[in-house]
Symmetry: C2
Subunit: 158 residues, 2 copies
Amino acid sequence: MKIEYQKIGLIHSPFKNIREMPIQSVGAFGIKGIVEVFPAFTEGLKDVEGFSHIILLYHFHKIKESMLLVTPFLDSQPRGVFATRAPKRPNPIGLSIVKLDDIEGNILHVENVDILDGTPLLDIKPYVPEFDNHPADRVGWLEKAKGRVRNQKSNGRF
Amino acid sequence: MKIEYQKIGLIHSPFKNIREMPIQSVGAFGIKGIVEVFPAFTEGLKDVEGFSHIILLYHFHKIKESMLLVTPFLDSQPRGVFATRAPKRPNPIGLSIVKLDDIEGNILHVENVDILDGTPLLDIKPYVPEFDNHPADRVGWLEKAKGRVRNQKSNGRF
C-alpha cells in the first residue's frame, strides 16, 4: 500500500539552515514564525483561532535517508530512532506544538517555532490538554537530559 | 512535490469497525491494543521501553475523502477540520498518545487505544512531558465539551 500525502502549506521561520536550530519548541520560546496554509485549504482554518496552541505535523524535507539507530543531540550514545525525536526516521514526519498568536486569512502567526524555514506542512490539529497532557512518569534516556533541551542547539548532525 | 510514506507496522485493537469507538485515547482508558512493528524496523525500538507513554502517528486508511468543514462528534455545528481531530483531513494522519505497558521484540503492548484494528502505523515518538505538555489556556469550541469526550462514542459519521 502506497501512502501519499500532499503539501498543504509552508512553514516560515528564522531558521534558514539546519545548524544552530533549537531542537524542540520548548527550546524556541518566543521564536516567531508563520504558517502559510495554501488558499485551497483556508476554509479548514475556521474556528482554529479559538485555540491557544496547535499541533503542526510536517515533512522533514531535507532528510534523504532514515536510520534505525541515531545518536540524539542530547546524548552521546546511539538510541533507537523511535525512542528519539530525531528527523532521520523511516517516515520523516515532524511534530511541533506551537503557540498560536493570530490568524489572518490563510496566515497563522505562531510562537515557539523549532522548524526549518520552508518546511512543507502536512496537518494542523488543535492542542487540547484534555487529550494531549499525560502524566508520563518515565522518559527513558531523556531522564538525565531534563532541562538541557532548552539550551541545546542542533549541529547539522542530521 | 510528492510525499510518499510507508507502512512500518500495524495497530491491533478491539475496534473492528468505526462505529462505537472511543473518540480519543482519554475515552479509551484501559483499552488494550498491540502495535506490531514490522521486523525490518525492530532495531529502531531500542530504548523505547524506558518511556511510559508514546505518540503513535498512523494513517486513517478507511478515509477516502477529505472535508474542510466537519461536524465533530462533540458538537452539532460545522467546524474547520483543522480545529478538530476528525479523520477526514486533507492528509489523513492520526495521532494518539498511548500508555506503553511492555515490549517483546517487535510487539508493543499498549493501553488507552482509540484506534481502529488494522490501522497502518507511520511513526512512533517518545512522549516527553517537557516537550509535549503545554499550558494551553484556550480550547475554542471544545470548551463547552469538556469532560464529555470520555464517554462520547463514534457513530460512523466519518
